[in-house]
């Protein structure tokens, strides 16, 4: 039996979520349509509010309710070091590991198969910052996947004329590891043992 069209459409919406397969998408869709109308209205309101109230910091591109964000406007932070991460969730992980410098959120990793090229990342914005501020070190903190590696190589090539010291996280992170799952201790060790990209 085939599902009716509106139901199929809803299932498809859920299937676009990261890590959601067809079976879970089905479960979520069924869960939703079994809810009261009032609850669904609340849910859709929450989505719209989140989208409209959460802004992107125009400097570091992190998600925040203020622009510029709390990190970019914090005078106690070290303004000479900038840490490049792919997503806001990685920024949160590194901040928990007690990094005291600035960040720049790239908005993804280069992945041609998903249609993401360098132009889709916030590299232009980053280069703009490098011109303005006195940045002494750029730390590239990306997943050690093939996409993370490719992005690291690309950034290194683009940024080396603009900054003398470009480093990456050191050992301690296992190969293929995703930053967001690394614990604080591992991350702070990886930060301490960072190495120059050659």
């Amino acid at each position: 039996m085939k599902y009716t069209k509106p139901l199929l459409k809803l299932i498809e919406q859920f299937q676009r979520f990261p890590g959601v397969g067809p079976k879970s998408a089905e479960r979520m869709a069924f869960h939703l349509i079994n809810q009261e109308m009032s609850q669904l209205e609340e849910f859709s309101k929450a989505i719209i509010e989140a989208k409209t109230q959460i802004k992107k910091c125009s400097i570091c591109q992190n998600l925040s309710s203020n622009d510029p964000c709390e990190i970019c406007t914090n005078y106690e932070r070290d303004k000479t070091t900038i840490c490049l991460v792919s997503e806001s969730k990685d920024l949160a992980a590194i901040d928990r590991a007690d990094f005291k410098g600035l960040y720049h959120v790239l908005g993804g990793l280069i992945s041609p198969i998903d249609g993401i090229g360098p132009d889709n990342l916030t590299i232009k914005e980053l280069i703009g910052r490098l011109g303005k501020d006195d940045i002494k070190e750029i730390i590239v903190a990306l997943d050690s996947s093939t996409e993370g590696e490719a992005t690291t190589l690309y950034l290194h090539r683009i940024l080396s004329p603009l900054c003398n010291r470009i480093t990456r996280l050191g050992f301690g992170l296992s190969v293929g590891a995703e930053l967001e799952y690394a614990d604080e201790l591992t991350l702070s060790r990886a930060l301490e043992s960072r190495t120059l990209i050659s």
């Binding site: 397969g21 041609p112 198969i113 360098p118 093939t146 996409e147 190589l153 690309y154």
Partner: protein, 377 residues
């Protein structure tokens, strides 16, 4: 190695299969399409993590089920090994080894249990497409070298990304300069992982070549000299990793325009092949049916030897319907060149295809529609 117990749940056409083995030989008998090969396939997955028959993991799960379970009790040379593998139809896996959950179900499975599968399909090794020979190399190297699997996985990911980039660039009319910049970042990884793969493949071929040559000589009563040559799309392959990377880089540079024109990555181990020579003539074009069978037999026996040599364990041998394909003298040769205490699983539709000698002290399992009928012997 000795497989003491195998349990399958919702695997292929087995809702529930459980058998203990205490004889060196197990004969699995039944009409076509009843599930004989499925049992060998499950055992083989425990060693290689892949199945050459299943295009994707979901094919291994019984229809209308969410997951399959393979559970095995194994006796190694000096220990007990217990493997529990869950294969979800979504493609995800879970693995426990000796009760401990593993983080990387594909990679962590490898290097624990070893086997050699010999089936009718192996006869395509000589005349089939290059991908058949590459899969053969890969399935052995997965068992021999844990790092090989990881390198191949990362290599394939990089090739997929590079192909997508070549395709996108064509559609979006990307500038040559931008394309070159972006190709470089994938090529760098392709060179690193690809060189590692090439070195490991070459090392294995050097090793198996010596053994296979000896077997071939004996099967042919001294008439046939077998040779294996790795045919790479990379020019100037060597056994030195740094030198290999240089050669790889050069080959990629030389094929830059060609790859763009084809919109595809054409240089590297994913495009390589293996040539078999008999008395310096290419077996693909010249070997007779009988000679092809001899070569495959020699290769399979060599595979056993190399795994045993490198791992210090005798692998489990899986013979899928091969006796119908081998004449009496080749059957004899196979049987007389096996290690004496090797555990062997044999499938057949007709017990008459199997030599009397093999039936001695063998356990016989009759299979019908994914069920064990009765036990004899």
């Amino acid at each position: 190695m000795f497989l003491k117990k195998l349990k399958l749940t919702n695997f292929r056409n087995y809702a529930d299969f459980e058998q203990e083995f205490n004889t060196l030989k197990t004969i699995i008998i039944g009409p076509n399409a009843q599930g004989k090969t499925n049992i060998l396939e499950a055992i083989n997955i425990l060693a290689t993590s892949v199945s050459d028959r299943a295009e994707r993991d979901s094919n291994l799960v019984s229809w209308n089920n969410e997951y399959a379970l393979i559970f095995a009790d194994i006796q190694t040379k000096d220990d007990n090994l217990n493997i529990a593998l869950q294969i979800n139809s979504s493609g995800r896996r879970k693995l426990k080894i000796n009760g401990v959950a593993k983080r990387a179900p594909q990679a962590d499975l490898l290097g624990n249990f070893f086997c050699v599968m010999f089936s009718c399909e192996d006869l395509y090794l000589i005349k089939g497409s290059p991908s058949v020979r590459r899969s053969w190399l890969d399935s052995i190297l997965f068992q021999l070298d844990i790092k090989y699997h990881k390198a191949l996985q990362d290599y394939q990911k990089s090739v997929t990304q590079k192909n997508a980039l070549l395709k996108n660039s064509y559609e979006s009319g990307m500038s040559r300069k931008a394309l070159k910049e972006q190709l470089d970042i994938w090529n760098e990884q392709i060179i690193n992982f690809g060189s590692e793969i090439l070195i490991k493949r070459l090392g294995f071929i050097e090793e198996i070549k010596v053994v296979a040559r000896e077997f071939q000589k004996n099967i042919s009563k001294g008439n046939e000299e077998l040779d294996l040559i790795y045919q790479s799309t990379v020019t100037g392959i060597t056994s030195n990793i740094d030198q290999m990377k240089i050669s790889f880089k050069k080959s990629l540079e030389e094929s830059f325009e060609k790859e763009i024109a084809r919109g595809q990555s054409v240089i590297g181990p994913h495009r390589d092949d293996l040539t078999f020579l008999i008395n310096e003539k290419e077996a693909k074009s010249f070997a007779s049916q009988g000679q092809q069978r001899s070569i495959v037999l020699a290769l399979k026996l060599s595979e056993l030897k190399v795994i045993e040599h490198r791992k210090g364990e005798i692998p489990v041998l899986l013979l899928d319907d091969v006796f119908a394909e081998l004449d009496e003298s080749r059957q004899d040769f196979l049987l007389h060149n096996l290690p004496p205490n090797i555990q062997t699983f044999i499938t057949t539709t007709h017990i008459s295809d199997i030599q009397k000698e093999l039936l001695e002290n063998a356990k016989v399992i009759k299979i019908e529609s994914g069920k064990v009928l009765n036990l004899v012997g």
